[in-house]
Symmetry: C2
Subunit: 432 residues, 2 copies
């Protein structure tokens, strides 16, 4: 039997794209055996062509700066998009799908921004849209959530999905360094970009959280629905304070079903988690995600969250699937939004706070502080008073669970107390 | 649009089967939304019918003792097999597939014994055969290996895939108990069966290893190919010895590609792993599996490895997939054996040994022992001599990497040395 050939347009040829092209050549026979058809690079769209583009086994003639024309070509069956960002990626993907081409992308920003519209277009045109690489790099996560757990009831997804911030927080925890110092080191080592905003302000993690929540809870969730706080305000004192209570500060993405199941909560923020929690042990730029489901219980997925080679593994895994579907003349499970749950505002989220207060060192302070908590219905778990602070005292309060709006209103009122000189730090406590 | 209905025959209604039936009723709407068709229980085959079979929402009339007739019924579209064991499960599955019904099973013994023939039959009859629940309970593992990593090159799968033995070894490590005592406790708590042979002698783990190796390396591997050693010979002294060198004893399933990639090694045996290794921290009856792939790097999958509810999650996830495929008129990726690698004999496996010897306490002993190692080309990493042993000495040798046949020949010769009174323990060292 002569094997048919599927022709692939690769959009983008940076670190990830060139790795994909390289592997498509190197593992050509394996990929063909797994797909049931040969995969051939029809063209590679780049911003600038030039001789530095040489990839062994790839015809230099197939590079082009006209991505739109490449996507429109009749001899292109499948499109792999690794340009990133919203435009021109969105337009190219839409154009590809309109012409009946299945798409594999690693584009988290786009999927988080517009996943619903993209999936709707994929359904309409009868094509596949796969994007495992968009969340947690090489870790198989979206497919297990979408398919392996399709017979279960996912209640929570909680994880470390941004390697840059995890590297920075890990450095702060291990070496006691400050945020600026740790960021500088991460930049020097290539773990953080020159403009680190997307990572350190939590935008990258929030995009991933939106994608995860949408899939886990069968409801449309976009980036705008995600409560987002970054790590740029995390201080060496916060990390030390966490250490003192046997915890570690991590940037968490948390997607959860509200009790009753009618709403979804999606948030990204730094949180203290106990040192015994498996996520506490996730070092450097690794990613790890917990999934809690009614029947399966607690599952954890762990691995490298970024990098050209891991990302290419995820993209090529998707490419094999969409190619195999194309050979069979079918599409895989598309977007699933039937539950259509509302997104709960952050204020309704039930969590715990760890609050450090710089207070006057005199009788009655604790009573005043406790009164504020009681007034908002927030129950205190522990209070620790450190009087060795020069000219005053430090009060560290850890609360029981309460709605975020009550906790946050408590903090606002504490800040106004005469006896409270400064609210030094407020961190949520998770993972218990 | 009126939704079509797919009718499901459930074979077996023990812990797992009754949980599946219960959830099919309880989550009927969710499952329908995910499949695109309603799933309906057509019949449940049991050994004995009776009123103790009552499952809320399930018509008692659909229970039958005639599994063969149920499978043959024209109004059955899909078959779920949770009887376990080789026969009658094999015959029923074959009959179902011959009649064009897709099958979901949790049957590791059968798949390990005869996976190739079963997949061949599935392909021939154009049906699906899915069995995520057969390995590591609820942990999505087979699907990620088969699909998510389809664009990558898996080099190693290493994990804890039997909860019973992990519970026993964990008890021995935590409380210093002996094997018999820990087994008895596991039995009392329901973690081990009255006849614990399949678990403690490694048959269960070996079946899972065969399945994992076949999928990971695209080659037929059956139970008979797996080198298997159980944990019944693991003593409190072994566990203490491991502790002394900062390690812990775990029953590991290891599937690896030989250097060069032309052969596959598959083995199950107790091994010492460093306490810092993530698998060392897997407690109780949990399972965890490392997957190493050329591009993805090291991935870990962790979760409950057994139990009715977790297993039902995996079965129902597969059921959604095969049902959805049936609606679309297609089948998913079937067995993939194109690489057809040979299985390497255990002797060729490269590993390390930890050997405890009871020796005479006199000069020249170490020289004699070292000569034996050298004669087999086995390089020693560390030797520790404990002379506080009454009337003699204990010599603990940890080797560098060497082929298992050289290591095992070394041990045989050591046992014959005049100065060696007893070879007290031999354990492989892995995970470094």
């Amino acid at each position: 039997m002569r094997m048919s050939t599927l022709r692939v347009a690769l959009l983008g040829c940076g670190v990830v794209g060139s790795e994909i092209a390289r592997q498509m050549v190197e593992h050509s026979d394996d990929l063909a055996a797994r797909v049931g058809a040969r995969l051939e690079l029809a063209g590679i769209a780049v911003r600038r062509t030039g001789r530095d583009r040489a990839i062994p086994g790839v015809d230099p003639e197939i590079f082009t700066t006209d991505a739109a024309a490449l996507v429109a070509r009749d001899d292109v069956d499948l499109v792999v998009e690794v340009i990133g960002g919203i435009e021109p990626a969105r337009g190219l993907i839409m154009a590809a799908m309109e012409r009946g081409k299945s798409v594999v992308t690693a584009n988290k920003a786009l999927l988080a921004d517009d996943g619903f519209a993209l999936h709707t277009a994929a359904d309409k045109h009868g094509v596949d849209l796969y994007y495992e690489a968009a969340v947690a790099g090489a870790i198989p996560l979206l497919r297990p959530l979408r398919e392996s757990l399709a017979g279960d009831h996912v209640t929570r997804v909680l994880g470390i999905v941004n390697g840059t911030t995890n590297y920075i927080l890990d450095q702060m925890d291990t070496h006691g360094s400050g945020f600026a110092e740790a960021l500088e080191e991460a930049q020097a080592l290539g773990y953080a970009e020159a403009d680190p905003t997307a990572d350190i302000e939590g935008y990258d993690a929030a995009a991933k959280a939106a994608i995860l929540a949408g899939i886990a809870f069968h409801s449309p969730v976009s980036l705008a629905d995600v409560h987002r706080e970054g790590i740029s305000e995390v201080t060496a004192a916060d990390v030390a304070g966490a250490k003192a209570m046997g915890a570690v500060v991590k940037l968490l993405a948390i997607c959860e079903l509200a009790p009753g199941g009618e709403a979804v909560g999606v948030r990204v923020h730094p949180a203290m988690i106990p040192r015994e929690h498996p996520l506490a042990g996730v070092r450097g730029a690794y990613n790890a995600v917990f999934v809690e489901a009614a029947s399966a219980g607690q599952l954890m997925f762990y691995g490298p969250g970024a990098g050209g080679t891991p990302t290419s593994s995820a993209v090529l895994g998707d490419l094999v699937t969409v190619a195999r579907n194309r050979v069979a003349g079918v599409t895989g499970p598309g977007g699933s939004w039937y539950a259509d749950r509302r997104v709960r505002p952050m204020g309704e989220t039930v969590t715990r706070y760890h609050i450090s207060l710089d207070v006057d060192d005199r009788p009655g302070v604790l009573a005043a502080v406790a009164t504020v908590f009681a007034g908002h219905g927030v129950s205190i778990e522990t209070v620790r008073q450190r009087t060795e602070v020069p000219d005053g005292a430090e009060l560290v309060v850890v609360t029981h669970q309460a709605p975020d709006e009550a906790l946050s209103a408590t903090v606002d009122e504490l800040a106004k107390l005469d006896t409270v000189r400064e609210v030094m730090s407020v961190k949520r406590v998770e993972g218990e």
